[in-house]
Structure formats: structure tokens, C-alpha cells
Amino acid sequence: MGVVPPPAGLTQRAGAGQGTEGGVGTSPQRPDGVLKVTGEFAYSSDLWHQDMLWGHTLRSPHAHAEIRAIDISEALTVPGVHCVLTHADLPAATHYGLEFQDQPVLAVDRVRYQGEPVALVAADHPETARRAAERIRVDYVPLPVVHDEASATAPEAPVLHPDRDDHHAEHVPHPNVVHVQPVVSGDVEAARAEAEVVVRGSYTVGMQDQAFLGPESGLAVPAEDGGVDLYVATQWLHVDQRQLAPVLGLPPERVRLTLAGVGGAFGAREDLSMQAHACLLALRADRPVKMVYNRYESFFGHVHRHPARLTYEHGATRDGRLVYVTGRIVLDGGAYASSSPAVVGNAASLGVGPYRVPHVAMEAVGLYTNNPPCGAMRGFGAVQACFAYEAQMDKLAAALGLDPVELRQRNALSQGTALPTGQRVDAPAPVAELLRLVKARPLPPERPWEALDGGGLPTVDLRALPGGLANTTHGEGVVRGVGYAVGIKNVGFSEGFDDYSTARVRLAVTAGEPQVTVHTAMAEVGQGGVTVHAQIARTELGVGQVSILPADTRVGSAGSTSASRQTYMTGGAVRNTCVAVRAEVLRLGRERFADQHPGWSDAELRLSDGAVLAEDGTVLAGLAEVLGDTAIDLELEFRHRPTEPFDRVTGQGFGHVQYSFCAHRAVVDVDVELGLVKVVELAAAQDVGRAINPQAVRGQIHGGSTQGLGLAVLEEILVGPDGTIRNPSFTDYLIPTILDTPPMPVDVLELADPHAPYGLRGVGEAPTLSATPAIVAAIRQATGLDLTRVPVRPEHLARG
């Protein structure tokens, strides 16, 4: 069968004679790196089958409308069309969702956002499918839209989900509110009397897009058992399977998923996009069906970062001690719930930031509106809060006449501090130290555009100026600013979620040499988990040659590649399983060799460099000898310690398993005449507990910081009051280029978390939080303007 396979098993050798080099704490090359630089790595959009059809989705042009009728007859007559599906053709469940099953697979009698899928076409050429979809006649009657808190919660507002029966429904003040989470500690009313300085502010965060480069895509292949094999780019194979099986009317074991190459994710692949659609078409047409979104469709095909409105009040004593904080965070979740409830929980529980605050009254609210659905994106509810609380800290510092870093350090939480949720931080929390590190770095030179040429004459390098080669300024009206920020992010799934991962590890002798094979369902989305798993296996089993099998649903769930959790969780599962395999090797060795070699009775045997070593380092036997023909093959689950839901009224509870912290210092040059910003440098300091792969750690900090930079000055999905997206393209939605991105020096601390495997701390998200407020603080310092929304645009900056 001419199917182009997804990425094959990845084998990496540490190098002949190098023993178990390439273990934990080193930076071996990615096992998929060579495939990726030669163009051989098969991304989900590269899959191909000789018999395949192309699927296409017809989407709603309206943000809110009633559907009176759908007529597919004309589309069916287009030559090359194999099938056209509407909701009437769904074999089983009609709705799906991550937390609530509130999202239609195909719209039934109503659409709730622009771009909602209405019908599907499979044809022999992508263009044929697209043209046929244009011939489907849908009779829409537009309905009034709700687009913000006031319109969504007005007494006469159209209720978007009148039949909701989720567990939050009876606790919310209005049916268009998805979830409300208060967090209350101490007594704010009493504390108000104690505060000598009070600052208030309102802030707005625009809608950011994950903008991964590899488009939503995949290939569904009908199987002989009536099931389907889906090759797809996703963040969590098993949660896709869990949602797909009821929609397809199949038992889960007949919905088999294999991870195809993933071109970035950042949260946008947590929800289903084309998965159900491609499978439905493939099963109906009885042919493989490939779907690939183009960039325009991608902006409608995935959830975005929640735009937010935040109102804060901070009270402090004259000497700069925080007395109380009140805050209200309104997150626009758009038409469907997706992961909004968890985003609300994060925003509320992390809402005051990494500070010690005795009296707190926070509230986070998630809304249903007719705006594009929002869900997971790197930083997940903590990003929005961080922008606001860090702006407040700067405002407070100014009101107190204190250095902003000094103010933060005086209030920084540390190990043992109780958070507003009542949870004590029971691992290192070096917040003050991270701020010290970024502050202690030498500042980049002033006026970097001024240089001397070979003849000693002054020259201007336009490339170093705001506006660059557009030649907008030669330095007149350019002012510099420096800003700081720090943030707190939870790692892993919170609030009582049964968060676990599974790993299967096999140790066997192949061609005379021991070889380890690791099989997990972890989605490698670019973060480098495959490298880390090989490192862990080398460290635990002392074997250089490690193969990583493709991720699929034949092994237990790995949970999501999100929440900075995969190195912790699936890394933890690989480690635990390797430890069990090692015990089995030693048991086998004792059984086989104990008589000849008394050394085998030692308690502390190690595996290293393909051999079993006694405590003193003597080699007892090669692994190949011990194993012989025996293969050791184990599959185990790993769980982090349990968390609990936040109390509905007080927000109290041990809600998060681990926290991570990152601080930034941003240096910017601003052309105040034209409102153009050049970020000159963005320095970061982060505690990673243990750098399992230092190069990958730095790469995550750079990447996360750059997305924070994007939110600060470039990135926003513009949604009109009618709920339609104005800029669904890379022409109009701007993500940072290499010219927009400055040098990013990084300091990494490794203060072990006693509760985590190897002491590690999830890395990927924390840098996204503080980069944004640090840059905006720097722009405020340069301009003296009171900037309260991101992204900051030229019209917010230009004088007069």
C-alpha cells in the first residue's frame, strides 16, 4: 500500500567507544535533527497515499446565525467529488470538547463563530474540493452577537448554550459565563486601612495566536476492521482518540492514532481540528483522506490565547511591603468552552504573581461570546495576569519612589511562602535571585547605530535603529528604556486532574550489543522530548544506543505536550520504567552469575557503558552477557503527587503540583516621533531545577521569550464587533522575524525541586510570561506613557 509513513523510529548512537555519553545533563544532538535538515522528516502535511482524496471544510461566514437549510445537491455534481457530509450524516455523537462536550462536529441549526465547520467535501484534487464546497448552499439567518462581558451577560443577551449541563453551569451568574473562580485570603477590607499607598489600573491583552508554522493536517486511512488509522499532528494522541471514538461511533481500539511530524504546537493542537472531519470522510468514502489547512483556514481552525480585561488594586506600606491586592480578570473564551475553565483557574490562582501578599481578593471569569474560540496557549492564563500585575508593581514602585526591582525583591515569594490559595511553596522559589541576575548583567551599549567606518568617520547603521532600513530616523527622537518583570507559572495539570504518563522500555541485545527501545505516546512537537527520553534511558541503563519508537495509541497515554509537563511526566515515566528494567537486569544477572561471581550480591550495582559494575567500579559482566536472548520489556505509568480542586468560594486548595519562575530585563529604543520600537536586548533568568538538556533549555527560553515579545509589540488577532477576524494571514498577523528579535542572553539556575524527577522544573512556558511586561515596562520608561494594553502599537506611542 503506497502510504508514505510518518517519521520512522529514531535511533541515536552516542558514538562508538563513548559508553553512555549523551545522558542527563548533556546536550546530545536531536535524534530527528538530521531528518529535519535534509527534508526527509515527514510532517503531517507531507503524508501521501496513492489512493487518497483531499478533504475540505465549508465554514460559516457569520459569527452568529441560525441555519435554516443546507443544500448539497449542486456540490455533489462536481466531477471528482466523492462525498459531501453535513451534520445529518454523523453516525453517532454530534458534539465533542476537551472539558465540556459543547462543540458540534458540524453545525446543526446554529453557528456561534465565524469559521465554524458546517459541511465537508472529499474530492480527488484539493482545488476540486474547495470549489465544490463553494457550491453548498447554506440558508443563514444572522443573529445578534455577544462580544464582551457587558453584551454577553446582559439580561436579554442571546444564550449561546441554552442546554448546558456541565458542572459549572449551576454556579455561574449567567449562562454565558463558562466559569468563575474567586481566590480570597486574609481580609482585604481591613487591610485597606493599613495600606499607605494604593495604585489602581485597568489593562487589556489582545488575542494572540499560536501561529505554529506546520498547518493543521493529517491523513485518515480506513481499515479493514471497519476502524480508521489516523496519522496526525497533535499534542495528545489519547485525548484525540477519546473524543473521536464517540463521534465516529467506534470503540476506541478501532480508532488508532499515530503521531505524524508536528510543526510546532504551543497549545493550538490541544483541541481537535481536522481529526474528526478527515476520519468521517475517509470512513464514508472508504478511501484515505488527507486534509491540510492553509494559513487562512488555520486562523479559524484552532483556538487562540484568551484576550483579557484586567482590573487591579495594590495597597502597600511606605516601606514597600504589599498589604493587599484585589483583581478581576475577564477572559473571553469565545463560542465554545475548550479549556477555558482551566485557564480561569490558572489566572485566578496565579493572579497576584510571585509575591507574598497577606490579603487577596481575586476573581477570574471566563465568557462565552461569538468571538473566535480560545483555549490553550503557552502560558495558559498566567500570561494575561502577569502583564497586569507587573504593570501594577512598576506603578507602585513609582508611587513609592522605589526602584522597581527592589520593590519586587522585597515582596518576592520564596520557599515556604503561602500563596493566596493557601498552598505553601515547597520547593526552591528564587524569585529575588532571578531578578538580581538579570539586573546584574552589563547593559548593551547606548546608541548602537552610531559607528565609525574604516576611515574613522561616523556612520549610521540603519539596521540598528527603530524602523530599520525603512530609513525613518537617523537617531533623532530615539530614546532608550529599561524594564523588568518576573512571573510564576504552574507546571503540569492542576486542580485534581489525574495527570499521568506511560512509558514502555525494552532492553535487548541486537547484533551483539545492548539496545534500548523507548515507546511512549508523547507528542514531539519540536520541544525535544525525544532527545530527553534517550538521555534518560542512557543514564538509567548505561546503554548508548537508544531507539525512540513513533508515538501512537498502541502504548498508554502520555498526557498532553503542554503545561511544561512532558519532561517531568513522560520523562518521569521513562525513568521509572528504566529503573524497573534495571532491577530486572540485576535480578537476571544474580540468577545467572551469582554463583561464579560473589560481586553480584552487592547491593549497589550500577549499569554503565553497556556493563554491570560493582560499587567499586569493577565490571561484573557486559549487559550482552547478562541478557543473552532475553529481552526485558516493561510498561509503567508515572503520576505526579495529587492536587485538589480550588474551593469554589474561597479558591483555597493544593491546586498546583509545581511552580516555575522566570525573570526578564528588556532594553528598548523607541522612536517617539513615529512610535516605532526596537527591542535592543531581552535578557532572561530562569530556574529549571535541573537542566536535563542545557541546549534545549536555552532554546525553550529563547523561543518563549520571543513569543512574549510578539505579544508585547506585534501580535494580535483583530476581531471586529461583529465577531469576524480582520487579519487571518501572515501578511497582517505579525510574528517576530529575526530582525525584530534581539540578542537574548540567558542565566539558568538549577535549584532542585525535591518532588520532581531529577529535581527538574518544567521550562517551556515561564519565559513567555515575563517577556511581555518587561518590554512594555521598558517602553513606558522610554516614553513616560502609561501603556495599559498589549500589543503596543505605534499609535499608542507617537507624540502628538
Partner: protein, 172 residues
């Protein structure tokens, strides 16, 4: 229409090419060379960057017919036939410049063209040359490292006629 072109030194032809198809579609879907990527199909991201008669182009913006008779170079043509990686490819892997890797093929070709023109580029030259290639994962620091590393391993070419094309402007 029938399309004939050379890709990575080998002649190729495709039949029944529809006039609306792009060079990118022809490479990926008709010639089985999916190394060049499709991320925006609008000339904005550089994922589809290939070289056409030596020049950098966004293959998504080249109509198939425009490539008739052209010499195309894609990422699939960079390594030696025996699998030895080009210095730039090796540098990208070593420097950690590859995360998801979707941007990598386009970046490699853009960087290759830069190093041919400017064998010892300054950072500002590298940034300018790669500014048409978006990467969403790496934050670009390691990509800069990779190009710097490859430059140190690239023999000096004869003095280029056009240096960076970006001579700093003399102040009056």
C-alpha cells in the same frame, strides 16, 4: 500542461499541471519532494524557499509555468548523495537551531545563498538575509549561532562583487 524542469540536478517532468498550481505544489505533490514546506502560501514565511536558477524564491509564489526549464534547488539537494550533510545542515543540528524544524529547509537555502555572497557575514547581515524566514520555535538565537558556525567552516569565496548590499549610510 506539461512541465519540464531540473530539480537538484535531475530532470523532472509533470503532466496535467493545472495553470493555477504553484511551483511548491508541483514539487511537493507531483514530484514527491515534500522537503520544501507550506506554511502560508502567501510569500510571508519563507518555509517554501527554494533556489530557482540560483536566486532565492518563495516557491508558493512561483506559478508552475514560470519554472519551465528552470534549475531548482531544494533542501533535498543539499547533502552529498552519500548522505554527508552540508556544513550548514550540520551546523543547524549542532547549534540546536532545529526545534520543530518546519522552518529549517527554507532557512537553510536562504543561509546558503547568504554565505555564497558573504562568506564572513556580520550578525546584521545574517539577520537581514534571514528576515524573510519566520521561525516560531527557536527565538532565532541558535539559528544565528548555526550560520556563524557554518561560516567559520566555509572556505573564503573570491571577493564578492556585492557585499552585504547594506553599506552603512555615511552621515552628512
Amino acid at each position: 500542461m506539461r512541465l519540464e524542469l531540473t530539480v537538484n540536478g535531475r530532470p523532472h517532468s509533470a503532466d496535467d499541471v493545472w495553470e493555477g498550481e504553484s511551483l511548491l505544489y508541483v514539487l511537493r505533490e507531483r514530484l514527491g519532494l515534500p522537503g520544501s514546506k507550506n506554511a502560508c502560501e502567501q510569500g510571508e514565511c519563507g518555509s517554501c524557499t527554494v533556489r530557482m536558477d540560483g536566486d532565492l524564491v518563495c516557491a508558493c509564489l512561483v506559478a508552475a509555468g514560470q519554472a519551465e526549464g528552470a534549475e531548482i534547488r531544494t533542501v533535498e539537494g543539499m547533502a552529498d548523495p552519500d548522505g554527508q550533510l552540508a556544513p550548514l545542515q550540520a551546523a543547524f543540528v549542532e547549534a540546536g537551531a532545529v526545534q520543530c524544524g518546519f522552518c529549517t529547509p527554507g532557512l537553510l537555502l536562504a543561509a546558503e545563498e547568504l554565505l555564497e555572497r558573504v562568506p564572513r557575514p556580520a550578525d546584521a547581515d545574517i539577520r537581514e538575509a534571514l528576515s524573510g524566514n519566520l521561525c516560531r520555535c527557536t527565538g532565532y538565537e541558535n539559528i544565528l549561532d548555526a550560520v556563524r558556525l557554518a561560516a567559520t567552516r566555509t572556505p573564503d569565496a573570491p571577493a564578492p562583487t556585492r557585499t552585504s548590499g547594506l553599506t552603512p549610510e555615511r552621515r552628512p
